[in-house]
Amino acid sequence: MKDWRYWLAEQRGTLLALGIFIVMFVIYTSNHPAGFTANVVQTAANKGVLLAFVAMAQTLVVITSGIDLSVGMIFLLTNCLASWLVVGTPMQTTLGVIAVLAAGLLCGAINGAIVIYGRLQPIVATIATGAVYYGIGLLLRPFPGGSVNEDLADALTGRVFGFVPASLVVLLAIVLVIWVPFSRSVLGRAAYAAGSSETAAYMSGVPIRRGKFAAYTLAGLLAAIGGLFLTFFTYTGEAAYASGNSYTLFSIAAVVLGGVSLFGGKGSAIGAIFGALAFRTIGDLLFVFDFDPLWQPLFQGVILLVAVSLGAFALFRVRNRLEWFL
C-alpha cells in the first residue's frame, strides 16, 4: 500500500466528520434566505467555535480513555471570571486574559492530579470537580452581569479582511499552537499509548502519567479559551447550570461524531472540531426549514445515532466473541 492510503485510513474519522459538516453546511446555506454570505458564515462560526473549543478539550481526555464531565463547568467558570477580569486598559485586559487561561489550566491540572495520582475514576472525579467549578462560578456571578473589553471582544468575534470570521482564525491558531505540538510530542504520544493499551505502554517505558496529566491540563486550558469566547460573544458572565451541562454532553457527542474513540487511543481534535461544527449545523438546519424548535433535540439525537452507528460495523468481523467485550 502507498503512504497516502495509510494517511487516509488514519484520517478516516476526521474526513468523515468534515464530509458530514460540509454536506450539512451546504444544505444550510443554500436554504438560508441570505445564502452563502460573510454574515451567515460569521454567525455560524461564532456559534460553532464555542462547542469546538470544548470538544477539543474533551478529545484530549478521551484519547487517554478517560472522560471529562467538568469541561462545561470550566467553560462557565472561566466565563464568569472573564466578566470580572478581562476589562480596562489593554495592559489590564491582557493580564485578565492570562489569569483566565491560568485558571483553566489549574482546573485541568486538578482533574488530572485526582484521576492519575488519586486513582479515582475520571467519570466520578470530574463530576465532583465540575460541581466545585460551577459552585465557584456561581459565587463569582450569582446573577448574570459583568462586562468585557469590547474592543477585544469585537475584534475577535468580527471579520478579518472583511469575510473571514476572526473566531475561526483564532480556532486555527489554537489548533496550531496547542493541538499540533501536543499530538506530535512525546507526551501526546504517551496519552495515545495510555488510552490504547496502558499495560503495553507501561511495559514499553512510556511516560504514561505525564502524558495523561498533560492531556487533562491542556483540556482545562482549551475549555477556558472557550469560556473567554463565550464572554466575547455575550459581553457578560453567567453561571447557567443547564448551559454548562449541555456543553459537556454535546462535547462528547461532537467527539464521537469527529471519529474519536471513546475507548481511547484513537482520533484527533481536528475531527472533533468538525464534529462540533456539524453538530451545531444540525440545529441551524431546523431553523432554515422552519421546523418547530421543539423538534431540535429529537432531530439532533437521530442524526447522532446514525453517525455513530457508522463506526460499529467492525464488530461483525470478530471471530472470538469475547472480543466484543474488550
Binding site: 510530542s185 504520544r189 499509548a193 490504547s196 493499551s197 503495553a200 507501561y202 514499553s204 471471530r319 466473541r321
Partner: protein
C-alpha cells in the same frame, strides 16, 4: 571464565507470590556475544526470572550485576536504559498506533521538542530491515497486522533500542517457518556484534540450532548449566523432571468405562491459525486431561466447545449427534448441558463486587424463576446444597464474593455451574493460584462428578494434576493433538517430552516432523 566480570550476573534471586515460591535463590550468568537458552517446564520460574531482569517485578532478595556493578531496576524503562530489552510473550505493542510509532515508543527522535516523524520513519524502516521484516509498512496500524507480523514488529522495536542484552521469551511461537529462519539469521548476526541473547523457547530444535549455553530451571532454581549440544534431549528432560509431589489425588477407577457413544466428541475441529484438526472424545464418567505447554491452543479448544469462537470448521457431537453451539447460553441448555470453569475467575468467572448468593445463582437463574421472578426459597435450598457440597467458607451469603479467599472464590465458580447439574464440564486450569487444601478438594470433587456420570475435560498447566486426576491425557502442541496418553502411560517424562514435541525412542506416535 577468564577473570573478567561477566556482562550480567544475578545471584541468590528469590521471589514469592503469596505462598508460592516462583524463584528460590536463582543464579544466572550471561556472557556477551553468546546465545543463552533457558529451559524448564511450566511454572519452573522462567517467566519470573526474566521479569526480574527486565524490571517488571522486583525480587524479594538477591543481587543483579551489570558489568560487575550492582544494579536494580524500578521499571521496565529503567532496565531498557541499562541496555536490557525484553520481548515479552504477551505483546507490548500499542494497537492503535502505527508500526513506526511503536518502534520508537520508548525514546522517539525529537526536533524542536516535537517528534521528528521523518527521523522516526527512518529508524523504523532501518529496524524493520534489520529484523528481516522490510515488507511491513511503517505507517500500518499495529491492530491491523496479523499476530505473526506483530511479533516481527516487536522484534524490530527491541532492536531499535540498541540493547546489550536481548531477552526473547517464546518470541517465535507465533511466527511462520519463513520468519523463524529470518529471525535466526538476525539473532546470529547480533551475537557476532557482541550482544548477549537470552532465549526462552520450548522448541528443542530451535535451541539446538541457536544456543551456545543452556540453563535448566526447576522449582524456581537453576539446576544445571551446560554447553549446548553436550546433553541429549532425554538427559535434558531428565533435568526438567523432579517437581515435588505435594498433592493427594483420589483413586482412579480401575478402567476407563467404555461402550456407549462418547458424551462429547470433536471431529477435525479447526479455528483460525490456533486450532488444527483436533479430534477427541470424552465419555461419561471419564476425566480427560489437556496437556502441553501453556498457550498451545488448550484455552481456544475449550472456548470453541463453549460456543465463544466464530468461524469454526469441523464437527462437534454431543451423545453422537452433531450440534452447533453459538453462545455460552446455548451451551448450557438442557440438550447439551455444558459448563466451563474459566481460567481467570476474576474477570470471566465472577462478578467480584456482587454477593456470594448472586454469583452462585447466575448460571441457574432460568431454572429458579417462574415468569421472570426468582423463587427465593428454591434458590436458598440449592445454594445451601452447594455450599455444603463444596464446603465453601464464607462469612455469609450476602458479602461480596471478592472478599473470599482465592480457593473459596474458585469453589463459588464451580458451584455456580454445578447448580445446573452439567453433563459436560470443561475446566480451564482451575487450580491456578489456590491453596493446596482447596486443590485437593477440587480433585476429589472432579472424580465424584465423573463417577456420577459427568464427562470432564480438564486443562491444567500442572503436570502432577494431569497425572493424578486423568484417565487419559491429550497433549497439545501448536494447536494440534500431538499425543494421547492412557492410564499408566501418563508419566511426567511422557508429558514433558511430548509437550516439547521431542520424538524420543519411547514415543509411540510417529507424527513425523512438526511444523
Amino acid at each position: 571464565m577468564d577473570g573478567a566480570a561477566p556482562l550480567f550476573r544475578m545471584e541468590g534471586i528469590s521471589k514469592r507470590y503469596g505462598g508460592v515460591r516462583a524463584l528460590e535463590k536463582a543464579e544466572l550468568t550471561v556472557e556477551a556475544g553468546s546465545i543463552h537458552a533457558i529451559l524448564g517446564e511450566n511454572g519452573a520460574g522462567k517467566s519470573t526470572l526474566i521479569k526480574v531482569m527486565a524490571g517488571v517485578v522486583a525480587p524479594d532478595e538477591g543481587h543483579m550485576m551489570l558489568d560487575g556493578r550492582e544494579v536494580a531496576f524500578a521499571s521496565p524503562g529503567a532496565a531498557n536504559k541499562a541496555g536490557i530489552v525484553c520481548i515479552f510473550q504477551e505483546l507490548s505493542l500499542i494497537p492503535e498506533l502505527s508500526v513506526a510509532d511503536n518502534i520508537v515508543i520508548s525514546d522517539p527522535p525529537k526536533r524542536f521538542g516535537m517528534i521528528d516523524r521523518k527521523a522516526q520513519r527512518r529508524i523504523a524502516e532501518d529496524a524493520l530491515a534489520r529484523a528481516g521484516a522490510g515488507d511491513i509498512h511503517p505507517l500500518a496500524l499495529v491492530k491491523d497486522l496479523p499476530l505473526s507480523r506483530r511479533q516481527m514488529v516487536e522484534i524490530a522495536k527491541a532492536l531499535a533500542r540498541k540493547p546489550r542484552i536481548l531477552i526473547l521469551d517464546e518470541a517465535t511461537s507465533a511466527l511462520t517457518a519463513a520468519d523463524v529462519s529470518k529471525i535466526f539469521g538476525v539473532l546470529k548476526r547480533l551475537r557476532s556484534e557482541g550482544l548477549a541473547l537470552l532465549y526462552i523457547s520450548h522448541r528443542m530444535n530451535e535451541i539446538a540450532e541457536l544456543a551456545d549455553q543452556c540453563t535448566v530451571f526447576r522449582n524456581g532454581r537453576n539446576v544445571a548449566s551446560y554447553k549446548a549440544g553436550s546433553k541429549s534431549d532425554n538427559e535434558v528432560v531428565e533435568l526438567m523432571i523432579g517437581r515435588e509431589y505435594s498433592h493427594i489425588f483420589p483413586p482412579k477407577p480401575p478402567a476407563a468405562p467404555a461402550g456407549a457413544a462418547p458424551r462429547l466428541e470433536a471431529r477435525r475441529l479447526s479455528w483460525a491459525d490456533r486450532l488444527h484438526d483436533i479430534s477427541l472424545t470424552v465419555r461419561a464418567g471419564e476425566v480427560v486431561g489437556l496437556g502441553g505447554l501453556d498457550g498451545q491452543g488448550q484455552r481456544e479448544l475449550l472456548l470453541a466447545f463453549f460456543g465463544v469462537l466464530r468461524g469454526l470448521s469441523g464437527e462437534v457431537l454431543i451423545d453422537g449427534k452433531p450440534v452447533t453451539i453459538t453462545s455460552p447460553a446455548a451451551a448450557r441448555e438442557d440438550g447439551i448441558g455444558m459448563a466451563l470453569i474459566p481460567e481467570d475467575r476474576k474477570t470471566e468467572g465472577l462478578m467480584l463486587p456482587m454477593t456470594v448468593r448472586e454469583n452462585l445463582s447466575f448460571a441457574a437463574l432460568d431454572r429458579l424463576s417462574k415468569g421472570g421472578i426468582i423463587d427465593r426459597a428454591a434458590e436458598q435450598r440449592l445454594i445451601d446444597d452447594m455450599v455444603g457440597l463444596l464446603a465453601i467458607k464464607t462469612g455469609g451469603l450476602d458479602i461480596p464474593v471478592g472478599a473470599l479467599s482465592g480457593g473459596n472464590q474458585q469453589k463459588v465458580v464451580i458451584a455456580k455451574w454445578l447448580m445446573r447439574q452439567p453433563r459436560i464440564i470443561l475446566l480451564n486450569d482451575p487450580t491456578r493460584g489456590i491453596d493446596v487444601g482447596t486443590k485437593q478438594e477440587i480433585y476429589q470433587l472432579m472424580r465424584k462428578l465423573a463417577d456420577a456420570g459427568a464427562a470432564i475435560l480438564f486443562y491444567s498447566t500442572d503436570y502432577d494434576e494431569l497425572i493424578g486426576c486423568c484417565d487419559r491425557v491429550l497433549v497439545l502442541y501448536d494447536g494440534a493433538v500431538k499425543r494421547e496418553l492412557v492410564g499408566a502411560e501418563i508419566t511426567e517424562r511422557a508429558l514433558i517430552s511430548s509437550a516439547l514435541n521431542i520424538h524420543g525412542e519411547e514415543s509411540p506416535v510417529g507424527l513425523g516432523a512438526s511444523l
